[in-house]
Symmetry: C2
């Protein structure tokens, strides 16, 4: 079994802000939406059904815990949860907070407009808001 | 508690081909991709986290069983699994078989091109292929 390494695309676009027992939590560096991905730390997995059953269930639970936190922290009107991975062949599950006032609404966000990177203090703010939510089994990673 | 009724958008675009204990399985009437949605038969749910815990876990299991069947039946290179629902506010989880030779690859399919309806014999063929796969706890609905 190969060792898990974060795909270069996710290293480029994401900022590691926390870890569940299975999944790394990345903040995608696009200030247009609160946009996160959960990346199960298992090597060689493209689709969720390739995970072992215990991992599949753990991912589902981590997605649920994280989604509940997002709704609370960002007062989410709607969540978009998606595992696509056509371009980046490492399983990663998008968790995007959507609002009827956001740039792409009601369209999907992928490819809608170029990413707008955060200022570093905005990243700190996201970290702090999520840390304050004390999400069960999520360990925050300091910046 | 209101009674579950399938949203008009999903009635318009989808063909009911089966039912799990929780979710209705619709074939989306776009022959460009094998594209299905799972719709938990619960009223008033927009996001998966609004489901009761037992239903949330059941949906996750039904998605897994259905995904495994799709990979087998359609020799899927890649699956796209997504709960978006910005335009149709009834929880429905897309399960799309993607291939590097499909029209939208590697982009997401939503909004890429107008839907191309199936011929009726093609719908029968999809039904038959899924029925032959004998997906656990999926009851097929005849056309």
């Amino acid at each position: 079994m190969d060792k898990f390494e974060l795909h270069p695309d996710l290293q480029r676009d994401g900022i590691a802000i926390g870890a569940f027992p299975l999944s790394l939590v990345l903040l995608i560096n696009d200030s247009a939406y609160p946009w996160f991905v959960l990346v199960p730390q298992r090597a060689g997995i493209k689709d969720a059904i390739e995970l072992e059953l215990a991992d599949y269930r753990q991912l589902s639970e981590e997605s649920q815990l994280f989604s509940i936190a997002l709704r609370q922290v960002f007062a989410a009107e709607k969540l978009n949860i998606a595992a696509l991975g056509n371009m980046t062949p490492q399983l990663h599950v998008h968790h995007i907070v959507r609002s009827s006032s956001d740039a792409a609404w009601p369209k999907p966000i992928w490819g809608f407009q170029p990413m707008r990177p955060y200022a570093s203090e905005e990243i700190d703010s996201v970290r702090q808001r999520l840390a304050a939510a004390q999400v069960e089994s999520l360990v925050m990673i300091d910046g």
